[in-house]
Symmetry: C2
DNA sequence: TTGACATATACCCATATAGGTATATAATTA
DNA sequence: TAATTATATACCTATATGGGTATATGTCAA
């Protein structure tokens, strides 16, 4: 068996940095393929192919207007990633480190 | 060119669900390979190989004790994922939806 | 030293890439 | 209808993968 297809889920789709760059370039805006091409400076087929992957996992929505195709982010499809990674946040967060400091301070005072 | 190696960064390492399962199984604990094997019920070589990937990107740390190798999560290596995905959270969060409600309420009252 | 245990690694294979280039499709305009 | 614009797709290739199985490595115990 090979690797999980990039179109299988958001985790795999977003593992490719160029696809993350596209999502960032879109932000909350709706943009045509050419706008993205100009923003990022990549060959047009490259942009189209990455958009196709993002579309297949639902990370972007496409709307046709004349000869243009307008894309926008469907951010909610990123929620599984957010939900998975968030529980780990407590291990590196500043408040967690502060908790350690507080605890060691208490121990010192108890001595 | 092919896909980015799984050992290249946390995004790619964690795109494989089995590796996420290992990180979840570890949690904040330190466990031997066999403990993970028993927890997940996978063949031992499979666990070792996935651990090798996680180790190479720094997502787990290995400590040798006798014939055992003890692994624990280095959660901070997940921070890039957290940092990347978090800005999108505002687009699906409840508070954002509430903002929409508030705005539409205001519009109704203005009529 | 020999055997048992814990873990890693070598090997094989089918598969889906990502990039590049050329071309097809679709919609508009002249 | 023909030319132009906007975008998608077909084709090629090198590459890393994940699973399975067998085996190597390393460590302890008898």
């Amino acid at each position: 068996m090979a690797r999980i297809p990039t179109t299988h889920d958001p985790f795999n789709a977003v593992a490719e940095p160029k696809r993350r760059a596209i999502l960032e370039a879109l932000g909350s805006a709706e943009r045509s393929v050419n706008e993205i091409v100009e923003l990022l400076g990549w060959p047009q087929p490259m942009v189209s192919k990455h958009l196709a992957v993002l579309k297949k996992v639902g990370l972007v929505r496409e709307r046709r207007e004349g000869r243009q195709r307008l894309y926008r982010v469907d951010a909610e499809k990123l929620k599984p990633i957010y939900d998975w990674v968030t529980p780990f946040e407590r291990y590196w967060s500043e408040s967690y480190e502060r908790l350690d400091e507080v605890l060691s301070d208490i121990q010192k005072k108890e001595k």
